[in-house]
């Protein structure tokens, strides 16, 4: 596939050209535009009710596979938050990406959401670290600009700002400050990296932004639960 990134670095969009019958795996909800003959395949993990839960915010990692059936085709992809996109050719081996930063990959790249350290980086934000392995193309994005750091020794990063890092780095998570961290926007978790490798940082933190939006949200009036409630909420979301 050919990948061209436009509107960088602030509202980057990837223009992907596929050969006939070539596939690309894309984070759900990121399709901007595509040739009419593209076929979309969604893996409904856990059945219909689980997918419903995902739409209401229950799950945070959901992917679609697009195939350019019969002819070469185009697909434009952009993630939800404003920011940049990076395209890397993975040479084999492991690469770690924050779950909200994953955008797309070629079918040769395996994505593991359940490896050991996945959930240790974040408090309760619904985020985790994805492990990508194998050979192929990977596109990831950021909330904000991407700041690359060539770590050689030690470097510490607020976990909300981590986009991706390569396997040459080992990591240790700790809490910053004490009780006062509870008052800070975000989780107050710091990751101490050591070793030699590339670290990608985003210059904005999703957790702070979510916290900032809180007073602007409508206040809960009544909640609808149960299967009927889920259907009601889905209809409301569409309309």
């Amino acid at each position: 596939m050919q990948i061209n990134i436009t509107s960088a670095p602030d509202y980057a969009m990837a223009e992907v050209s596929l050969t006939a019958d070539e596939k690309v795996v894309v984070e759900a909800g990121s399709m901007v535009a595509m040739s009419p003959h593209m076929q979309i395949e969604t893996k409904a993990r856990g059945g219909v009710l689980s997918s419903a839960k995902r739409m209401l915010g229950g799950e945070s990692f959901f992917i679609n596979t697009y195939t350019s059936a019969g002819n070469p085709g185009l697909i434009y992809i952009a993630p939800g938050p404003p920011g940049d996109l990076r395209h890397l050719q993975l040479p084999g081996g492991d690469f770690y990406i924050q779950s909200g930063s994953y955008v797309a990959s070629s079918s040769g790249v395996q994505l593991d959401t359940k490896w050991g350290g996945a959930k240790t980086f974040f408090g309760g934000e619904g985020l985790f670290i994805l492990k990508a392995s194998g050979q192929g193309d990977l596109i990831f994005g950021s909330f904000g600009a991407i700041h690359e750091v060539d770590v050689d020794g030690n470097y510490s990063v607020d976990t909300g700002h981590i986009v991706a890092f390569d396997a040459g780095l080992t990591f240790n998570i700790r809490k910053v400050g004490g009780l006062k961290s509870l008052f800070l926007s975000g989780e107050g978790l710091i990751c101490d990296f050591s070793g030699k490798g590339k670290l990608y940082i985003q210059t904005r933190k999703p957790g702070s932004f979510v916290h900032w939006l809180t007073p602007f949200r409508p206040v809960k009036q009544e909640s609808a639960g149960g299967p009927l409630g889920i259907i009601y909420n889905i209809i409301r979301r569409f309309i």
Partner: protein, 230 residues
């Protein structure tokens, strides 16, 4: 300290290089990354010279848009150090050198300053508040660097005579300017026009504005999110 700002104007990052034992004061939550020899101390005061919390606590959250207002002091120990800082919202960061005359900064635009600058949070801000809306200003005095952030690009205007600015777009201005917060047009215009409160400036001095209004953006996005518990 040396402040270098990258990724302007949209997702600006302030890269602060500290000499050994040098410190920078920054809003809690602004730290992105730092070298391992930097020590963090969270101040129990809401600002240099002020009492903890105080009147700030009773202010409606809408004035700060949900941000806390505590300061951290970052000190490089035993050698040089680096701290990178970023604000919550997309937008720009600007470092303004202060040489004695005071600067008035909109509450949510303050990000960091050198320790020689004193930030007064109780300075006359309340006369400009209309039921929790309006201008909450900090007054910065002293010598050193002050780092402000904006939502959107920062646009500098040289004021000379009367000019009207939408309140949500104000980042900072020289204390040589006089200002008055008022409603735009008649009460009907305020209610319907979407413009709300404006600030009329007079006099000579610099005014920095941001090209986006955080409250408008917050309302636009926030109203589409699922409801929260009260």
């Amino acid at each position: 300290m040396q402040v270098n700002i990258e990724y302007r104007p949209s997702f600006a990052l302030a890269i602060v290089k500290l000499a050994a034992e040098e410190a920078v004061v920054a809003e809690a939550g602004a730290m992105v990354s730092m070298s391992s020899n930097v020590q963090i101390k969270t101040s129990s005061r809401a600002a240099d010279g002020g009492k903890r919390g105080g009147i700030l606590k009773s202010l409606k959250r809408s004035v700060f848009g949900g941000e806390s207002f505590f300061m951290n002091t970052y000190t490089a120990q035993g050698g040089e150090g680096e701290v990178t800082l970023a604000p919550t919202l997309p937008g720009d960061v600007l470092s303004i050198p202060m040489t004695g005359s005071g600067l008035l900064i909109q509450g949510t635009s303050y990000m960091a300053s050198s320790p020689g600058i004193s930030i007064d949070t109780k300075w006359g801000g309340f006369k400009t508040l209309f039921g929790g809306e309006g201008l909450f200003m900090l007054k910065a005095t002293g010598t050193g660097e002050i780092v402000v952030n904006s939502f959107g690009a920062i646009h500098e205007l040289q004021m000379d005579g009367p000019y009207i600015v939408d309140t949500g777009h104000i980042v900072a201005f020289d204390e040589t300017l006089s200002f008055e917060v008022k409603r735009v047009g008649s009460w009907k215009s305020t209610f319907f026009s979407g413009e709300g409160l404006v600030t009329e400036f007079n006099g000579k001095g610099r005014l920095w504005i941001q090209s986006r209004n955080p409250k408008e953006f917050g309302k636009d996005i926030g109203s589409r999110l699922p409801p929260r518990r009260a």
